[in-house]
Symmetry: D2
C-alpha cells in the first residue's frame, strides 16, 4: 500500500529545509509564520493588512486571488487584480507571498506573482494540478485534503516530487469529523506522524483547523509544541466585515499578542521564531 | 447557508428527465444500468467486456481512459487510445458511453468521444472543471465527493447548472467513515434526501460504495428500492487480474444474475428495467 | 483481531432463526415488523398506539420505559409504570413487546415484563450489561453502537453468546458521520456484511437511521431489499407532540401505507411479510 | 440544545480546582501527571512500575483492575485483587490512584480503594453509572466518549454534577475518525473549547489519543501548550509484553525524559509541573 518513496524519511533521512525568497527557510530550526487575510478583497485594505501583520511578526504574506468557494454565488476572488495587489504588498513589506492556484491554466500567471504556490485542501487529489506544480521551480504549500489520510497526503506530495519539484511544504489544516462545534478537527497527531514518516517540512493552519478566532492562539502554541515547522493564520482588520472566513480571523492586535506567546513555546522546544 | 436554486425542487418541482443518446433516459420511470470495467485496459479485453455487459442487460458502457490514482506510480489509463476503444465498443454494441474527465484541458478531446462526461469523486469540488463541463452540451455524471455533505454535492451540481448545462445526473458512491470493513459507507439516506431536495436524477455506484464484489448485488437492490434512478457497476471478465478495483468487480455471470433480481425489485417499487 | 467465534458463520453456517412468543420468528423467510412510540408517555396514549400499529401490520410492540437521554434534564421514561403499560398493551393486542434495559440492576424487573430485551446503541459496549443479558433466557435486540465497527458489533454479540444466550437479534440503526442532514447515516452495507459474516438475524431501524419521518419508508424498503430480516420503526399518533423523537415518528396512516409497499418488496426478494 | 448549566462557565466563571489526596490539585496553575501501566497485571510488576513512574515525575498512579475489552476472550483485569495491589502501590509511593469503574454494583468496592474514579470512554453515556458516581464524594475522571461531541461530553459531566458531585475532571483521549494511522485522532481543539465553555479541569491522554509510543511525548507537549491541566499516560517496564496496549506504552526512561521536556513547555505557558 505504501508507495511513496521520494517523500519518505527512509530514502531521505535528513530534514528537508526549503529556502523561500532571500532569507527565509522552513524545515530547519527557524519557524515560519505566514499571515494575512483569507482573500484579497481590495488594494488599500490588503496593503494595510500586510503592514500590520509584518509589524506583528509575520515572515510571509498570504491572501487568495482565486478562491475555491462551495457555492457558485460566493465571492471568488479578484483573479489577476488580486495577484497584482499581492505583489505590491510584497514589494512594500519585503515579505514573500503565498497564494492558491486552482487550475493548471492559471499556473503560468500565478507563477509570475507568487513566491510560493498553494494547492488547497479540495485540490489535494487534483492530480493534473499536482503534476503541473511539480514542473515549476516554486516551493509548493500542499494543504491536506479535509478527508485525506496521512498516506494519501504523502502520496499527493509524491506526485509533486516525482514530477521534479522537491520543494514541498505540507500543511495540516484540520479534518472533517462528526464534531460540529469546531469547523474542522485539527489533527496534530498527523503533524507528529508526518515528521516521523517524511523529511518534508510541515506547518499548521489553526484558522481553518478550528474555525474560531478564540481558538487560534492555543492551537498555534500546541502546533509548535508538537513539532510543526510553522503556522499560517488568517488576520483581518475587521473580521466581522471580511468577505470570507471572518469568524476565524484574528485582529492584528491578537495576532501580535499570539506571536509573543509563540516565541516562548518555540524556545521551550528548541526552536526559534526569527525577527528581522 | 442553502445557496442552490437551480438544483432545488422548490424552483423546479417536476423530476428532470435526461435523454442519453437515441433511446435512453434517466430520471423517469425507466431505470438506467451502466456497466463495464473500471479502466480501459486494452482493446480486445474491453470490446469483449462491452458485449458481455450488453448481453447481461446493461444500457450504457463505462470505462476510464483517464484514471485518478492515489499513487503516482499506479496505472493511470490509456488516455486517447482508451477513448478510441470506448468509441469502438459503443459502435459495436450500440450502447452510449460515460467516461471520466479530470482536467479542463482534456475536455474538448473527451467530448469528441463520450456521450456522458463523468466528474469523479475527488474532483467534485474542482470548481474550474465544474464550470467547464457546465459549458458543454453533454450530460454530466457528478459523483459525490467521498467526504462531501449532501449540501456540498448539490452546490457542486449548481456550479454546472449555473454555467448553463441542465443535464446533471447525481451519483452516490459511498462516503468515508470510521468503518474499514467496507471500502466506503454507501449512504442510501443521501439518495432519499436528494430526491426530496432536488429534481435531478440520482444513481448509485454499489461497486465503489462497498468495495466488495459479494455486496454489490444486495446494495444495488437496496438502491432501487430506496428510489434511485439507476446504478453504475464495475464488471470485469477476470476480476483478479484487473489493473484497477478488481476486488469490487462482478463477473459477467454475476452481473447478469443481478439484473434479473433487480428487475423484480424495480417492479415492486413501480419502476421498469428496460430491455432493448 | 477477529476473535468472535460463536457469532461467526464459519462456526454456524445455517441462519439462526429466533422464536419470539407463540408464533413469531426472525431470521427465517418471514420478516419481522416492530413498531410503536419511542417512549411510553402515558397509559391511554400507548394503548391506543398499540392498537393502531397492530391494525397497520406490526407484529411486535416497542416502547421505552427507561430512556437513555443525552441531557439529565430530559424525560427519562416512566420506569416500572411504563413496563406495566407495555404489558397491558401486549395483553390487549396479543403482540409481544421489546423494551430497553439500561442497567443490570433493572434487569430482573424488566425480564418480568418484556418478551425481548433491547440493549441500546450507547450501551453496546457496556460489557457488564451484555454479560447479564447473556445469562437470561430472553431474546436480545442488540443495537449497533453509533460509532461501532462491524467487528466491534459482532464482538458485542459474542459477549452475549459466550454468556450462554444464543438468541441475539442484531439491529443496524445508523452510524455517526460528518453528514448532518440526516441524524445518522444508515449503513445498509453493514447489514449485507453481517449476513455474510454471521448467522444471526439482523433488522434495521430506519427511524433513528435517518431522523426524518419522510425518509423512513424508502429506507425500510431498501433495508428489506438488502436482505434485512425486519425493521423497527417509531410510530406516534401526534408526532409533533411526542416527548421524544417526534420528528422521526410516522403517523399510524403512514405506517400502514409503508407496510403495504414493503410487502411488495419483500416478495420481490423472496421474503414474506406475514399477516395474522 | 444546550442544556448543561452546572458545567457551564456562564454559571460558574472561575476555574474549578479539584483537590486530590493531601497535596495535589488539578485545574489551577499546577499541572497533574498521572502515569502507570494500562492494566494491573500482577503485584510485583505493578509495585515496581509505581516506583519507576514516581521517580520519573508522576503525581498520581493509574492502572485498571476492571478492563473493558472489545473481545470477551481478552484479559479483563484482576478485579478486587487488582484494587488491593493499587492500594499497596499507593501506600508505598504516597501517590493517590485512579482506576476505572464499569458498573454501579462494583462502585462501593472501588470506592474503598480508589482516590479518583475513572469513567471510561465506552461508558461516557452509561447514564446509570454517571448518576451513581455523582452520588459519591470522590473526584471523577470522565473520559470523552470516542465518538462523543463536545456537547455530549459536557452533558455527561452535567449528569454527575446534577447528582451532587462537583469534582469532575474531563479527559480528552482521542476520537474516532477515518484516519487509521493513529489509533484515534487526538482532538486538542476540544480541550481549548472545553476550557472556554466550562470551568471544569481537563486533562489529555496522549497514549490512547495516538496509540503509538513514539507520538506520546510530542502530543503531551502540545496538550500542555494548548492549555490542558495535565496528562495521563501509559508506562510499562516491558511494553512488548504488556497484556494490554503495550504498543502505546512508554518505557520508564522515555517517560522521565518526557517529563523534563514538559516542564519547559509548562513554564512557557505560565504553568508549573510540581516536584514533591
Amino acid at each position: 500500500m505504501k508507495t511513496y518513496r521520494l517523500a519518505s524519511r527512509e530514502e531521505h533521512p535528513d530534514d528537508t529545509i526549503i529556502k523561500i525568497g532571500e532569507r527565509l527557510t522552513v524545515g530547519g530550526r527557524e519557524l515560519l509564520v505566514i499571515a494575512g487575510p483569507c482573500a484579497v478583497e481590495g488594494r488599500e485594505l490588503y496593503l494595510e493588512a500586510a503592514e500590520l501583520v509584518k509589524a506583528g511578526g509575520a515572515h510571509m504574506l498570504r491572501g487568495g486571488a482565486y478562491k475555491p468557494r462551495t457555492s457558485p454565488y460566493s465571492f471568488a476572488g479578484l483573479a489577476q487584480e488580486g495577484l497584482e495587489i499581492l505583489r505590491e504588498a510584497s514589494r512594500n513589506t519585503g515579505l514573500p507571498i503565498v497564494t492558491e492556484v486552482m487550475d493548471a491554466r492559471e499556473l503560468p500567471l500565478v507563477c509570475q506573482y507568487a513566491d510560493v504556490l498553494q494547492v488547497g485542501s479540495r485540490n489535494m487529489q487534483n492530480y493534473t494540478l499536482l503534476k503541473e506544480v511539480g514542473k515549476t521551480n516554486k516551493p509548493v504549500l500542499l494543504k491536506r485534503g479535509f478527508a485525506a489520510t496521512i498516506l494519501e497526503w504523502l502520496l499527493a506530495a509524491e506526485y509533486i516530487l516525482a514530477a521534479g519539484n522537491s520543494q514541498v511544504i505540507l500543511c495540516e489544516r484540520g479534518i472533517r469529523t462528526f464534531e460540529t462545534y469546531t469547523r474542522n478537527t485539527i489533527d496534530l497527531g498527523a503533524v507528529v506522524a508526518v515528521k516521523e514518516l517524511s523529511h518534508l517540512p510541515v506547518i499548521v493552519d489553526p484558522s481553518h483547523g478550528t474555525g474560531r478566532a478564540s481558538m487560534v492562539a492555543p492551537i498555534a502554541r500546541a502546533a509548535i509544541a508538537a513539532g510543526a515547522d510553522g503556522i499560517v493564520v488568517e488576520v483581518h482588520q475587521n473580521p466581522t466585515e471580511a468577505l470570507s472566513d471572518g469568524f476565524q480571523s484574528l485582529t492584528p492586535t491578537c495576532f501580535s499578542h499570539m506571536i509573543d506567546e509563540l516565541r516562548l513555546v518555540a524556545e521551550a522546544v528548541g526552536r526559534v521564531l526569527p525577527t528581522y
